[in-house]
Symmetry: C2
């Protein structure tokens, strides 16, 4: 069984890669150089693929040509409180990004004759992105099977979203069991030398580690209050 | 009402653009520079957009990064008889191409806040491509509405495929009524100075003009037997 694993280099997709390997798939990691401001993520993707010793393809697609988001445009990434994160679609939303990346993954899957595409969507701590919901994943699978030669020939391509119903804490617990080197992953939207500890993604990540009962091995510029409290309770500060 | 019209520069999409205008849409043409061998098509797209005086965006995405087709790879485009064309998925099939291009159109539609995407899929003379069937279009519309901010906010994006059930002859008749300048369009897969008159696309086009009772105003290197016969009957050769 062969699978394309969408690997952003973040915590979620790195865990998904480990899950695909555990499920016995011959994993082909796929990343995108899409003009993201946090290009540090791509470096993490390379490190993760190397760590797990799987082939890794990087496709270049400049989504800045489409425009419309803080992740690719030169506008400020907002700071929010962790409680506010799931209430609205964030400004960091890139129009149709996941549909575009899944489509490219679909093309690649067809070329290498893969049976599945692993997609690290998450409906729980999904940070307000519409394309992380199960019904979206099902709809895309239908497109995949109706719109490809493989599908027409009766060899379906599965879109597997193994962490879609997991909380961030559950994802981290699973990843720790599978030995995911989280110090190599990157989640921060800002992309400086250290993770900022302030953006939505850092906040969700640190909250996840806290709830999983682990410490995040990544270096942070600063920690939010709740995480400092957590470290204090653990007797670390 | 605003619409993104996928404009390849071919006969079908140029007709679709005219139909969208006739329906009263504020049309934004969108083309792709995707490493196609027949880049002449892109020149035609520019001419058509200029002719109809609509804004035209070209997105660059190198599908050769994915590989797997005669349209982007350096392999020979086959010659077939017109009767064989619809029997199998042709070697010119680019894996998931239309899904990729529709996804990019979806991102662009969201950015410009368009209500519809016009897609020149055709299920009758579809030359064996799986992503030209109505059920595929419906499935993609579902993805569009589940996977975008617009969709989530209750402002659906329609995927309109106005020529999907039309024969090539019907498309041409409609386009002639609407004044589509077919001499500016390009359908040939080979992309020399004149259309080859031998590839699948040329054969279907010439057959369409013949059945519609018109002459194709485009220049051809050579004509297939059936079209020579047709011109003879019309008393032109």
């Amino acid at each position: 069984m062969k699978a394309v694993v969408l690997l952003s280099g973040g915590l979620d997709s790195s865990t998904v890669l480990a899950i695909a390997l555990e499920m016995g798939y011959d994993v082909h990691a796929l990343s995108f150089d899409y003009g993201q401001r946090h290009s540090r993520e791509l470096e993490s993707a390379k490190k993760i693929a190397r760590y797990f010793n799987v082939p890794h393809k990087i496709i270049k697609i400049d989504l800045r040509q489409i425009g419309g988001s803080a992740l690719t445009d030169n506008i400020e990434v907002p700071e929010r409180q962790v409680e506010d994160i799931e209430k609205e679609i964030p400004i960091t939303y890139v129009p149709a990004r996941n549909t575009i990346l899944l489509s490219l993954a679909l093309g690649y899957a067809e070329v290498i004759d893969a049976d599945a595409i692993f997609y690290g969507a998450n409906a729980i701590d999904y940070s307000g992105y519409p394309d992380c919901r199960p019904e979206y994943v099902e709809a895309f699978e239908r497109v995949a099977n109706l719109g490809t030669k493989r599908g027409v020939e009766g060899k379906p391509i599965k879109i597997i979203a193994p962490i879609i119903h997991m909380t961030k804490a559950e994802i981290i617990k699973k990843g720790m069991e599978l030995g995911v080197p989280y110090e190599l992953t990157w989640s921060c939207y800002r992309g400086e030398k250290k993770a900022c500890g302030k953006c939505d993604s850092c906040l969700l990540r640190l909250k996840g580690f806290m709830e999983a009962g682990y410490e995040d091995p990544l270096d942070y510029e600063t920690y939010p209050e709740f995480y400092i409290e957590y470290l204090k309770k653990k007797g670390k500060k």
